[in-house]
């Protein structure tokens, strides 16, 4: 398996507070990597550095061999890095379908004028994107809410739509910030199945933050543990369960 993402000596500080401290990490293509750690360990900060929301104070990030440390978030999205957020970030008054179609916008070729006048193949392009979006709708089993405003959906469904929006970008690397937070057991099981299916169907690499250790053990190939901004452990899920560092960070002993 080729390495897709390389992080070298990444540090992030907000004023005097160190959020991330000299982190090295390699993520293999097509694998599901879970980032775990107590609250404030720097998990979301790490994700934000990868997606470009935060600029690291020190260190470099390579995506598929290319240095992306200084690229803007949208440039990174264009390279194939997609993400979902801890708190759902969807257009609540728009339908599921429109939210997903919006996720395709980086793939749009038609310019403003042609799109506005709906000519020069703009309609053909829209049909093409619609087809792709419909495949995602089918994949995530959200046909019944296709035309429903996202704001009216249950929390679990909104999370699913958000995953769909991220998938619409056709990312090669997908960052999931607590995809199962606030879900009941059944919703969690569904989401876990979708995540596994995404990896299997499209070979998408995924980095996810998750608190539920059961889920982490079930779906991830690789586990990275952070504590106070420092990487304290890296290994397979069974190793993580045995690791004294992980246990200490979680249990505080």
């Amino acid at each position: 398996m080729p390495v897709q993402l390389v992080i070298e000596g990444l540090s992030l500080a907000f004023g005097g507070v160190t959020a991330l401290n000299n982190i090295d990490l390699e993520v293999q293509q097509g694998k599901i990597t879970a980032i775990i750690g107590p609250n404030g360990a720097g998990k979301t900060s790490l994700l934000n550095c990868i997606s470009g929301l935060y600029r690291p104070t020190r260190g470099r990030i390579f995506f598929e061999g290319r240095d992306i440390t200084h690229l803007s978030p949208d440039a990174r999205a264009r390279l194939g890095i997609g993400r979902t957020f801890q708190n759902i970030e969807l257009f609540k008054h728009m339908t599921t379908l429109d939210n997903l179609m919006l996720g395709r916008h980086i793939h749009l070729r038609t310019g403003l004028l042609a799109g506005g006048l709906y000519w020069l193949g703009a309609w053909r392009e829209e049909a093409l994107h619609r087809r792709r979006v419909e495949e995602i709708i089918d994949f995530l089993e959200i046909e019944s809410v296709r035309y429903k405003p996202v704001g009216t959906l249950s929390y679990g469904l909104q999370k699913r739509v958000e995953l769909g929006r991220a998938l619409a970008l056709e990312p090669r690397l997908l960052l999931l910030d607590e995809p199962m937070a606030g879900m009941n057991t059944e919703e969690k099981e569904d989401m876990a199945r979708f995540i596994l299916d995404v990896a299997e169907e499209w070979g998408t690499t995924m980095i996810l933050i998750e608190h539920d250790m059961g889920v982490v053990m079930d779906i991830s190939d690789w586990v990275v543990a952070l504590d106070f901004g420092t990487k304290i452990f890296e290994g397979t899920p069974p190793e993580a369960q045995q690791s004294p560092e992980v246990i200490r960070a979680y249990l505080g002993t």
Partner: protein, 630 residues
């Protein structure tokens, strides 16, 4: 070639109808069509694929999945090879799956997706005869390495290859099929013991379709939406047998959750659903109207009575006066067509309900809208249907008249017996149950019922739940109680009469509805007891009892009733927590009251202990009036 099997009918349709639409499935948000030609092609490829995997005449294939074209391809492919299909409900537990697959000796199992694959793999040790488990939704299954698994299109591809080396195999196998071959083994969920597999032949299924369509014709190209489990014989009736017979287009919903929208998009010409679907539609309309704008609510309030009036005229088979006809035209234009369009019922030629009793109000509601809703009666063992209402001869309390070639008789003990070419040939590997069910050459339904003078069949209850009066007349307390409870003014009713000279009833009025009724008439009342013993209320309830009596045979009509002085309550152990009457307990508790109903007394004194909110108790005595119904 005589079309005496379902695959032969399919080939006939493929030749005759060629590129006309046979199936439609919504995928990726668009309705995708499958022509008769392509339908037959899929069946041929899959059948040959099964043959290549070792499927032989007389073998069985078990099918588990939602309503999809692949379900029908599989069923017809198995039948084309002289085998039978065994439908299994999607929500069956692994234990139930294991029992049915094993008992039916299925050698192939065709399932929809990962969920079902997991279930079958979990029990594969118990299924030594199963050669292949074929799935048609590959998601999540790519990394499964089990050699038992195969992907539906792969089997079809295998079939294409097999066909290249065996060019005449398929046609020969189909031609070898005969009407007497078993086409379908339908497992019925027995209330007691293990499910039994009813074997239905091609002849059973085709004669059912022919006779049903003789009563209610469908045309080639009519639409049907298949959304109830295909393991249910009622769904098989229309989606397979009748559809092949008449060339009806079968539509499959996108997902089980999208049925409502898909129903509206398709606007089927025929539907068959159990009562809950119709009840659900009515409550959805009620909710929508509550939330609608002032004008819409006004239109509903003004025009619905017109519809009800017309429905009543039609039920009574009286000609519509001109003014009513004109009013109905307006009402339909303004309101009814809009409601029907919303529910997807606008093109319906007829709709069926069956499986359980449907309240007369629901019936009236749909007929008011102009939806031709009719009752069906039948069993799995008679291919699903033996009795149906005729157009223009609909009575909410009956199930209608036998279809052609069908005889209905009431046995000595009140059991409904039937005889027709659609009666099954027996339960698979269960000769004792077969002999019992087919004793004397008649199909024993296990239901009690009677025939009205006009020939309409009335179904009372399961035979084991009916009781007898002292003179031997049969009656079902539950059947009569349900009829009473259809009245908005009756909350609970307990009917008594076992080994007694006549039937009596203990009734609870519905405090809310009866109270409103009283308020409208400016009747002042204080408590439940006070309201329930008002002469006006007693008259009101008498009217309801008379209405019920009209639908009952003479000997088992309610002769006397009393309105109870208290509401039956789960806290007093009179009801279960699910609000079912605990008959034994109630009859014991109110024994003296019931005894009094079999004397000449006109009032019964009762005493009840009342506990007030502040905690102190008092003994209240009241005299309940005994009402003798004329």
């Amino acid at each position: 070639m005589r079309e005496d099997t379902l695959p032969k009918l399919l080939l006939r349709n493929a030749a005759r109808l060629d590129n006309k639409v046979a199936l439609r499935e919504k995928e990726f948000g668009i309705w995708q069509s499958v022509s008769w030609r392509a339908y037959a092609r899929h069946v041929q490829d899959f059948a040959l694929g099964l043959a290549a995997l070792g499927f032989r005449r007389g073998d069985k294939v078990a099918i588990i999945g939602d309503n999809r074209p692949e379900w029908l391809y599989t069923e017809l492919a198995a039948q084309a090879l002289g085998g039978a299909a065994v439908g299994i409900y999607q929500d069956s537990l692994p234990r139930e799956l294991a029992y049915i697959i094993d008992h039916a000796d299925a050698t192939m199992v065709v399932v929809e997706d990962q969920e079902q694959v997991d279930k079958v793999l979990e029990i594969k040790e118990e299924l030594p005869r199963v050669r292949k488990v074929i799935y048609f939704d590959p998601r999540g299954l790519r990394s499964y390495g089990d050699p038992l698994l195969a992907y539906f299109p792969e089997v079809e591809a295998l079939g294409k290859e097999y066909g290249a080396t065996h060019p005449d195999f398929f046609a020969t196998e189909v031609a070898r099929g005969q009407g007497e071959d078993v086409a379908l083994i339908a497992y019925t969920s027995g209330t007691t013991g293990m499910p039994k597999g009813a074997m239905l032949t091609h002849c059973n299924l085709i004669s059912m379709a022919k006779n049903l369509l003789a009563v209610d014709p469908l045309e080639q190209g009519d639409d049907f939406l298949s959304f109830l489990p295909l393991a249910w014989v009622g769904e098989q009736m229309l989606a397979v047998s009748a559809a092949l017979w008449a060339g009806v287009t079968v539509n499959f919903p996108e997902e089980p959750e999208t049925v409502r929208e898909n129903l509206r998009e398709i606007g089927p010409h025929v539907m068959f659903s159990p009562p809950r679907i119709w009840e659900d539609m009515v409550s959805r309309v009620m909710v929508k109207i509550e939330d609608a704008s002032f004008f819409k609510r006004l239109a509903y309030r003004l025009l619905m009575p017109v519809g009800y009036r017309v429905a009543d005229y039609r039920f009574a088979k009286r000609p519509l006066p001109f003014w009513l006809r004109a009013l109905y035209f307006v009402a339909d234009f303004v309101l009814f067509s809009a409601i029907k369009d919303h529910l997807g019922l606008v093109r319906l030629k007829r709709a069926y309900t069956g499986g359980a009793a449907l309240g007369p109000d629901i019936f009236r509601f749909f007929h008011a809208l102009g939806v031709n809703l009719k009752q069906i009666y039948g069993q799995t063992e008679i291919a699903g249907i033996s009795v149906v209402h005729r157009d223009g001869d609909i009575k909410a309390h009956t199930v209608g008249l036998p279809i052609p070639e069908t005889e209905i008789r009431i046995g000595e003990d009140g059991e409904i017996l039937s005889r027709s070419p659609s009666v099954f040939i027996g339960y698979y590997k269960n000769p004792e149950a077969t002999a019992e069910t087919l004793a004397g050459g008649w199909l024993h339904s296990g239901d009690a019922g009677y025939l009205e003078e006009n020939g309409h069949l009335v179904v009372i209850d399961r035979l084991k739940d009916v009781m007898r009066l002292a003179d031997g007349s049969i009656f079902s307390p539950q059947f009569i109680e349900n009829k009473l409870k259809f009245s908005p003014y009756v909350r609970e009713a307990v009917v008594v009469g076992k080994d007694r000279p006549y039937v009596v009833a203990l009734i609870n009025i519905d405090m809310h509805n009866t109270g409103k009724w009283a308020e409208k008439r400016q009747l002042a009342y204080t408590t439940y007891i006070d309201l329930s013993q008002k002469p006006e209320v007693l008259d009101l309830v008498t009217g309801e009892v008379l209405r019920v009596n009209k639908e009952l045979p003479e000997p088992v009509r309610i002769k006397k009733f009393v309105i109870l002085h208290k509401e039956l309550d789960a806290d007093d152990e009179e009801l279960t927590r699910t609000r079912k009457v605990r008959r034994r307990f109630v009859e014991e508790k109110y024994r003296s009251l019931i005894e009094a109903l079999y004397t000449e007394r006109e009032t019964i004194g009762v005493e009840s202990r009342v506990r007030y909110r502040d905690g102190h108790e008092a003994l209240v005595s009241t005299a309940l009036k005994v009402i003798t119904v004329a």
